[in-house]
């Protein structure tokens, strides 16, 4: 089924909130930032009227004043902005649990599954826009599309208070004529580089040869080409996935000390299940696996190893972990606790260079198996399906599982 993705962007957010709180300034240009009394600091957000005078984010108040003498400066009220942002998310939350904030004022929403109840994406966008206006007194621009990149294109297309669709069939006619700089991740410097090789529109990027793009932009070249073609299937993260995650890990002090590699295997597989599941839930793959050791004298250290291929597969992560232990620990002292962590995270949905020693079919099988296990556990509980290995030592394997199947245990803190 085609996804329905919205990108909602609250217009001139800080300035919008301040306008609400200062009805007497209606129709007058304002900028939020700095300390107006002392007349120093920089502009955080200018409203549309001030922007017309040329006032931009990052200018000093003095520069802004020179461009627009009738401007009113207002000190920022961060608590207000956070409060309104939270209220907006409550509204989004009535349409989907898949909302991924992009800063305080922007948010992606995957409303595919509510479309049957609440109407198509455009209708939901209209309703959200109306509600934000009535309930928060702010305006939003919303993009409606089938992927995150084009949805963002839509919310940027027309401002303020607008809804723009970028459906699949509108790709050539609507998205491609736009300037290349409108595409997410094309900043000023990338735009200049693209311009030098004669690429000015999103359509130019889509139709450019990939090797030329990668020659000039490195890996990003391929990513941008995929974006321009609308080949973005990165998921909208679930509510609360929050902040950029740098690594995902899990550790445990076991019921008894681990004496040999067989003990370690049981524990690492149990831990890897939760680590890999969280990677999958958040749409990540890890490029490196790290093991944290602590022996019964409480001496601890960490070893890591890159994976041949980024992975969110339970078995691969666990195997790498077991390998690290095998090569780095001699069990002269038993282990009191152990942790495993996936780091160097990348968005899981991007393709990966294959190699001739790799068996893609086998990997695909393992991925499907993980998905199937996730599914079964979601429906019937954590214990409904187990690895045979877990039966080797029920004591060691059960303790993690128990914690795990309620809420994922708080990640073991590796920071020293």
């Amino acid at each position: 089924m085609e996804r329905v993705i919205l990108h909602s962007d609250m217009n001139c957010y800080y300035a919008g909130v301040e306008h609400l709180y200062h009805p007497e300034l209606k129709g007058k240009p304002i900028a939020v930032g700095g300390d107006p009394q002392k007349r120093h600091g920089i502009v955080l957000t200018a409203d549309y009227m001030a922007k017309k005078y040329g006032v931009k984010t990052g200018m000093t108040l003095k520069e802004a004043y020179a461009l627009c003498p009738c401007i009113t400066f207002i000190s920022p009220h961060m608590d207000r902005y956070l409060r309104f942002s939270r209220m907006a998310r409550e509204i989004y939350g009535e349409y989907t649990d898949r909302q991924e904030p992009f800063g305080i004022d922007e948010c992606w929403l995957d409303v595919t599954e509510s479309a049957s109840v609440k109407g198509d994406g455009y209708k939901i966008a209209r309703e959200i826009s109306r509600r934000i206006k009535e309930e928060l007194g702010l305006t939003v621009s919303i993009g409606v599309s089938y992927n995150k990149i084009f949805a963002k294109l839509g919310s940027d297309y027309k401002k303020p208070d607008a809804i723009t669709s970028f459906y699949r069939w509108e790709r050539e006619s609507k998205a491609w004529p736009l300037a290349a700089s409108k595409l997410l991740y094309v900043g000023r410097r990338t735009a200049v580089k693209l311009h030098k090789i004669g690429i000015n529109t999103i359509g130019d990027i889509a139709n450019a040869r990939e090797d030329i793009l990668t020659d000039h932009l490195g890996k990003m070249g391929s990513v941008l080409k995929a974006f321009a073609l609308g080949y973005d299937d990165s998921p909208v993260k679930k509510e609360g996935a929050s902040a950029p995650v740098k690594s995902i890990g899990n550790g445990i002090t076991t019921v008894r000390d681990l004496e040999n590699i067989e003990d370690v295997k049981v524990v690492l597989y149990a831990l890897s299940e939760s680590v890999a599941k969280r990677l999958r839930e958040n749409g990540f793959s890890c490029k490196t696996v790290e093991i944290h050791f602590r022996d019964n004298g409480l001496m601890s250290f960490t070893r890591q190893r890159p994976l041949k291929h980024p992975s969110d597969i339970t078995a691969e992560i666990a195997e790498a972990g077991v390998g690290i232990v095998r090569d780095n620990y001699d069990f002269r002292k038993p282990l009191r606790s152990i942790g495993i962590r996936g780091c160097d995270l990348i968005e899981g949905s991007y393709w990966d260079q294959g190699d001739i020693f790799q068996d893609p079919k086998e990997r695909e099988k393992r991925m499907q198996m993980d998905r199937a296990v996730d599914n079964i556990r979601e429906r019937f509980g954590y214990y409904s399906i187990q690895r045979g290995l877990m039966l080797n030592d029920r004591g060691l394997s059960s303790i993690n599982a128990r914690e795990d199947h309620t809420v994922h245990p708080v990640a073991f803190d590796f920071s020293r």
Partner: protein, 86 residues
């Protein structure tokens, strides 16, 4: 245009988690009992400037809006410029 006026409110928390204002004291010191609440919803007051839970109240047969902001404060819209401290 109206003005934003913060008022003292006596309110009731029910055991099922609902907050209901019972009475408020206007700036002139007059206390008003709220006869009934006809609507509760989140709304912005573009006139007074603010947003929160809006209680549509009947007071002496007349309708008035009482807004609850998250920071434990209640405000109303006034026609006169008697703005209270923000």
């Amino acid at each position: 245009m109206s003005y934003k006026v913060y008022v003292d409110v006596v309110a009731e928390f029910s055991k099922d988690g609902i907050l209901r204002p019972r009475s408020f004291t206007w700036i002139d010191g007059q206390k008003y009992e709220i006869q009934s609440i006809t609507d509760i919803r989140r709304a912005a007051s573009l006139k007074a400037g603010g947003a929160g839970m809006r209680y549509t109240c009947r007071i002496w047969g007349r309708e008035a809006h009482l807004y609850y902001e998250d920071d434990n404060r209640w405000f109303m819209e006034s026609r006169e410029d008697i703005r209270t401290e923000e």
